[in-house]
Subunit: 202 residues, 2 copies
């Protein structure tokens, strides 16, 4: 059985849990409180020198880190990865965009506000910079979703899981989703998929 | 024939060019000077709303962006992607690490110093923060390369191309590679691969 080392409020961890749920793969969770340095202990660093969750222990193989590498491994050969090579390339295009543009802005702002409990006043200019970057990324996502039900090939894929994870909790990062109707429609589509579970569900 | 929209000093663009060269795929290059806003014109934004190079025009399909999505598309079914699913997962693990931890630190510092021509004195604390993050990422890479010839499965893969692109020009970001012997050995291995070309080669 898979064992997932995870911090339940994490959007990156949630991508892995949503994928495991959707594919009905059994797993257990070991909680790692990243706000208390539990991913930077010598024992954890021996497993991931980068000191981050999620980490998936795969029986007979070893440890895998990086949320997108983990979900691509779990979903190989399933309907969550398009068969068509061009659609698979578009799936990775969106996933790379998430890790480079969306998560560092939206995910970091949310971590500061929600997990570390900082106030907007304390964060000042640093939060404003993250909000500017987050709104740029959300504008690109909104444009990509206009007139569509899902990001790639009009069916649910890892691209939707990867971009949904932090986007749907944008309000926890201080960003209102009202100006993004295509994103709000797509969030409802994802939440109607089988075996969807909320972000902090183990 | 593929057409690549690229800024030749870009490490992200270089990943695509190294892959095209290695696979002996014919292509031409349209240069886009990102320091003069040429990736943010209305015409370019219509093709990539995220306003970034590299962009690969694929005959009969369309435009693909995000360097790692592009190289994975080009290399499908070739020896640059491991057949073994676990090794393929480790390849993506390293590529995700590069986009999240290494490139934003090393790539951004290099862009400020080399492409925009800022001095270390002008950049001050912002450069120091990038150097701290870059050295953390290089320490993880060094540990991953100890006793190895390549990152995954002891053969050249997209993981090597993706991490080499910015790492080998670390000195242009103000980072000396002397403290990283495993990285320096691995750089020599990559530069001995067939059809290797330097970073600014079209």
């Amino acid at each position: 059985m898979y064992r997932l080392y995870d911090y339940l409020p994490s959007g990156n961890g949630y991508k892995v849990r949503l994928t495991l749920h959707y594919l009905a793969l059994p797993y257990d969770v070991i909680e790692v409180d990243i706000t208390r340095g539990e991913s930077r202990t010598p024992a954890f660093l021996a497993r991931n020198p980068n000191g981050r969750i999620p980490l998936l222990e795969v029986p007979g193989r070893g440890d895998l880190v990086e949320s997108h590498a983990i979900i691509a491994f779990l979903a190989q050969g399933t309907r969550l990865i398009p068969d068509d090579p061009w659609d698979a390339a578009l799936m990775w295009q969106w996933m790379c965009f998430e890790q480079y543009n969306l998560e560092p802005a939206l995910g970091t702002a949310r971590f500061w506000l929600k997990s570390l409990g900082h106030s907007a006043a304390e964060l000042g200019e640093r939060l404003i910079e993250k909000h500017v970057a987050a709104r740029s990324a959300l504008a690109v996502l909104e444009q990509g979703l206009e007139g569509r039900q899902f990001l790639v090939g009009e069916r649910y894929s890892l691209a939707d899981i990867a971009l949904y994870a932090y986007t749907h909790v944008a309000p926890e990062a201080g960003i209102d989703l009202t100006p993004y109707p295509a994103i709000r429609h797509w969030i409802r589509n994802i939440e109607a998929e089988p075996r969807w579970a909320p972000i902090t569900a183990p």
